[in-house]
Amino acid sequence: MSSNPTILAKQETSSLLQVEHLTVDYVSIDGSVRVLEDVSISVGRGEVVGIVGESGSGKTTLGLSILGLLDTPPAKVRSGVIVLGGETDLLRLDEHQLEKLRGGYLSIVLQESVEALNPVYKVGFQLLEALEAASKREGKRFNRESAKQEVIRLLEELCVSQPNLVLDKYPHELSGGMRKRVAIAMAILQRPKLLILDEPTTGLDAYVQSRLLGLLRQLNREYGVAMLIITHDLPLAATICDRIYVMYAGRILEEGDAKGVLNSPQHPYTRALVSAIPQGFIDAPPLDVPPGDPPDLKRLPRGCKFAPRCPQKTSLCEASEPLLLESHRGSVRCWLYSDDKNT
């Protein structure tokens, strides 16, 4: 498959993170599947960026590759560069150098929060350990008692009731939502400059969600922490992010200012992402499901990957894949907008 450079890399000097033309395959004995195709994203200093999209579209793979956490094999980075702070190409670092970066510069809240926690140690021990490492890096003295207070304050901030008791528990003794918040606390305690959160709000009730968003906003404003928030919840992304990328079948279909993407989405897929939100009570009619099957990465159509399900497709869409082009608002990969390019 041809892979033209699609987004013209905007050379923003203020960029903290720049992923360019990243293409990733998963290789196994059953063959190879391309899960990211020529993906370019950037996160500016102090910027909050959202990645939303279809389940299985490659969001987690993208997040993991930024931290060098992809298992290779089965993953294979075919091409691309990941530039952090304008100089380091993360894809060329060895494990030791990456480990150092992951400590101080970057931290991630994994989608499966179970994986962030070691099942055999109590939660408190693990959180304190993270904080101790952070203090060491910053050359600060580490005082166990005041560290414990800091951990407790952070958990309270995240609405964990009786944090003292929670510290004394093993991960399996926590409810789903508590485990998630402990994983979030763990990432925050590492005091990163760029925080990647993969589905940070799944399993949290509306109150805790809004509280978490408040805390993230505060981290962003007061400490300038930049964030990459991966979520399938577009309205939620729009409340916290400055800018949003929409993914489908390993590609970016749309990019733009958060409010704009939510309120006046350009790509038909982005529109489908808003219109299928359940409305009404049990007697309401069935929900609108885009026709056709979710894309099969092993058998993707030749043209636009969304075309088989798109209500507005034309023969052009089936014949060739549109590029991700700048439009009057952000960028979009859709033939419907291809004329905008010249205006």
């Binding site: 279809e54 299985g56 004394d168 789903g176 009730d205 509280r211 399938h232 299928a276 049990i282």
Partner: protein, 319 residues
């Protein structure tokens, strides 16, 4: 209407703090005196704070945790949790989609065999396996090629759809769905919700649907319960509860539902339970002196609609 499940005054308390002899903390009252029922062919929605005991109730119902006290009646049978036969009876007739799909899928099996296990357990003829698997997979929005993958080769949302397929390939009388669509984008979620509603009406299934997403709960449930810190604070027909929420906690949830998507300026308040008097006392904007005494019993405010709040004592609407 016949009740397929009745739960009465269920308590599940966990010991914490393990081995220290001094200053043993009190047990965690994960579920503390909860009663509800599910009618045959009905969906009961269960919402509530994180950590309020929803998954614990689910695990009791499939025999993974033993209740500290309380009574459970399922399909007319009083369940004794020390009786192996009763536990088998529960598991044979109650299916579950766990909140955490990862740890519930055997990492050594391909997806096809994970789903097949449910068919084997239900004694379905081998010759029907492939057809049944091929039938359910698109209904939960999974692509057929995922059948040959191992769980670790799937995304979070794909794993969630595998647990759904496993639970739905041989539908049981009662299905517990613990946050079944939490990792799905809305279009896949729509597919799954449509399928669940269709199977329910075609096969007369009953669901216990646990979710934080009130839009989903509203769309899926006939009746609903709201929990806060181990207690049931409100229950009733979903329309009645959503349109006329009486408990201050439910009111907050419903208000959040309406606000979602707006760039909200977040209201920050303490969300700590109170261990004396009403569990909601420390948060409640309407506290009265009565609230300091005991946790309120359930007061009926409309048909089938009851609320654990002194404000509703005389059927007086809280506002």
């Amino acid at each position: 209407m016949t009740r397929i499940l009745e739960v009465e005054d269920l308590k599940v308390h966990f010991k914490v703090g393990g081995f220290s002899l001094l200053a043993k903390p009190p047990p965690v009252k994960a579920v503390d005196g909860v009663s509800f029922y599910i009618n045959e062919g009905e969906t009961l929605g269960l919402a509530g704070e994180t950590g309020s005991g929803k998954s614990t109730i689910a695990k009791v119902l499939v025999g993974l945790y033993k209740p500290t006290s309380g009574r459970i009646r399922f399909m007319g049978q009083e369940i004794e949790f020390d009786n192996r036969g009763h536990i088998t009876f529960l598991r044979r007739n109650i299916g579950i989609v766990f909140q955490d799909p990862v740890s519930s899928l055997n990492p050594r099996l391909r997806v096809r065999d994970i789903i097949r296990e449910a068919l084997v357990a239900a004694g379905v003829d081998r010759r029907e396996h492939d057809e049944k698997i091929a039938h359910i997979v698109p209904l939960v929005g999974l692509r057929p090629s995922s059948l040959d993958s191992y769980p670790r080769q799937l995304s979070g949302g794909e794993k969630q759809r595998v647990s759904l397929a496993r639970a739905l390939v041989v539908p049981k009388k009662l299905l517990i769905l613990d946050e079944p669509t939490s990792s799905l984008d809305v279009s896949v979620q729509a597919q799954v919700l449509n399928t669940l509603r269709k199977l329910k009406s075609e096969l007369g299934l009953s669901y216990l649907f646990i979710t934080h997403d009130l839009n989903v709960l509203k769309y899926m449930s006939n009746r609903m319960c709201v929990m806060f810190y181990g207690k049931l604070v409100e229950s009733g027909p979903t329309k009645s509860v959503i349109n006329h929420p009486k408990h201050p906690y439910t009111q907050e949830l419903v208000a959040n539902l309406l606000r979602k998507g707006e760039s909200s300026s977040v209201v920050i308040r303490e969300h700590q339970p109170s261990f004396e008097g009403c569990i909601y006392k420390r948060i409640c904007p309407y506290v009265m002196s009565e609230c300091s005494q005991t946790h309120p019993p359930l007061y009926q405010v409309a048909e089938e609609h009851s609320v654990a709040c002194y404000l509703s004592k005389a059927g007086v609407p809280a506002h």
